[in-house]
Symmetry: none
Subunit: 271 residues, 2 copies
DNA sequence: TTTGCGCGTAAAGAACCTGTTACCGGAGCG
DNA sequence: CGCTCCGGTAACAGGTTCTTTACGCGCAAA
């Protein structure tokens, strides 16, 4: 039973979905005193952190699976704005706090507009900086983890977030971690989800153009769903848009007591 | 009810069906100059906003359906911290920015820990304050989309943004993604849209000179609308200008509970 | 009424989107 | 160390959608 075998992978890769106890932070800065004070404070709080003396690629940041990034934009020189924009675009779920020396209103506005979550001016107290970072992370997290609680039931399928697995008639579908996360996300949202949306919320960062991973996983899910529950179709394609989850009998009926079968116009529904 | 509520944008609520994409902001402050400058800037950005001279209950804030709250915590006196905590607990999805005079690190830390998203120190530029508010809202909004996009109803047609589809009496119009986007855009805007405007907002870039794509899509839309709802006409051509969406019976009546009774000259009705 | 230009309509090829399969690198496990 | 399984990438086929082009009509101005 590989059901619970891959949990470490899951929690590591899906940082935004799983509430990891330790927060992960990176600091791009070169001020030894600042770094020292901040590091001490972060250690005592139990955060995982690392300092970088220069910009690293967005891909490298992705692989670090960070919750937050503190950036002194002055160490990047004139290319700092582009770098900020690139990082914000690639990691929309990352909390970014600019912490740098004196600046103009125009600079601060520019940084915030590009996607930074907050701007702190040095010198500042480590305590306050950490509070600002926490506030930024808090916002991100509130969105990404609604509640994983009770089981969801759609047609013949039962989704158990507490077990990271889905079942049909008591039999496990043997979903992998990724497969389960995508199924869970689709089932939770009662609407069409674009591929980019699915990717961003499951993988934790922006989907690269032309990436087909979501399609391939949907195919795997459909295969397992079909095998376990041949009478229903669950994942529906919306051409040019994305995917939507809804349990529907092959003959067209709707088995679930669907919460949203509100026909738009009851008074016009004749025949 | 709160003290004086200067609702500067009452006219914006004209269309009850529309899910307004405008941001809603409240300011609790007593500095006339600050309020004036901020109001001007917000008006030009098209935000709905109101100012309050004192604290209002959390329930009142709920009923305002705000996106953000800007608060000068000094106007609340010693009970301000409790108030902040109460509001943060009651409205976890509300972006809260404290904007007040000089403060200690301890105060700022306390405010942020209680749930505020950012702390600005007066005097500050309205532009920067707005950027900070936007940064806070940006994250909150991401996952609140499912609720925000309610169905739009015009005549016999129901537009469901969550399903990327339009219906007539419960039957899908089978719109393609592009067709739906154009219909949705037209239905959202209660006015004549020029082709260039439609193209730019749907395609995402400027329309090439002589491009007829919008016309072709309007034709397809009209065909499907006519087939699904023969009694009404929905997309109206304004010769030399563009298109306008409005459900109208073929015989000239107006099926929607539209509040427009008086209008001797529809052509001149602002748009 | 005439004229010029904008608009509706139709069709065909280009471009795009999706399902599917095969393959490869890497992580975890025995 | 080798094995298995998982995640991710590339490629192809088939179907759908979008864009372009052409032609004729209708609207507005002279």
């Amino acid at each position: 039973m590989p059901a619970e075998a891959s949990d470490s992978t899951a929690s590591a890769q899906a940082a935004p979905q799983r509430a990891s106890s330790r927060l992960r932070l990176a600091v791009i800065d070169r001020d030894p005193g600042f770094l020292q004070v901040l590091a001490n404070r972060l250690d005592s709080l139990g955060w995982e952190h690392r300092s970088l003396s220069t910009a690293v690629t967005a891909e490298a940041l992705v692989s670090m699976r960070l919750n937050a990034l503190v950036l002194d934009i002055s160490v990047l020189g004139p290319g700092g704005w582009e770098y900020l924009e690139r990082v914000c675009g690639r990691l929309p779920g990352l909390a970014i706090v600019i912490c740098t020396g004196p600046s103009s209103v125009g600079q601060r506005v520019r940084g915030l507009r590009l996607g930074a979550d907050a701007w702190m001016t040095k010198p500042c107290h480590a305590e306050e900086l950490i509070c600002v970072v926490e506030a930024a992370i808090r916002r991100h997290r509130r969105n990404e983890m609604p509640e994983l609680e009770g089981a969801l039931i759609f047609g013949e399928i039962t989704i158990r977030p507490d077990l990271y697995q889905a079942y049909a008639g008591g039999v496990s579908l043997e979903l992998t971690a990724r497969e389960f996360e995508i199924l869970h996300l689709l089932a939770q949202s009662d609407r069409v989800l674009r591929r980019e949306e699915i990717y961003e919320r499951v993988w934790g960062y922006a989907m690269a153009h032309g990436d087909r991973s979501v399609d391939v996983f949907v195919r795997k899910l459909r295969q397992k769903l079909r095998q376990a529950s041949p009478g229903c179709s669950y994942i529906h394609t919306h051409f040019g848009v994305g995917y939507r989850f809804a349990a529907e009998f092959e003959d067209g009926g709707v088995p679930t007591p669907a919460p949203q079968d509100l026909e738009p116009d009851p008074e016009l529904t004749f025949g």
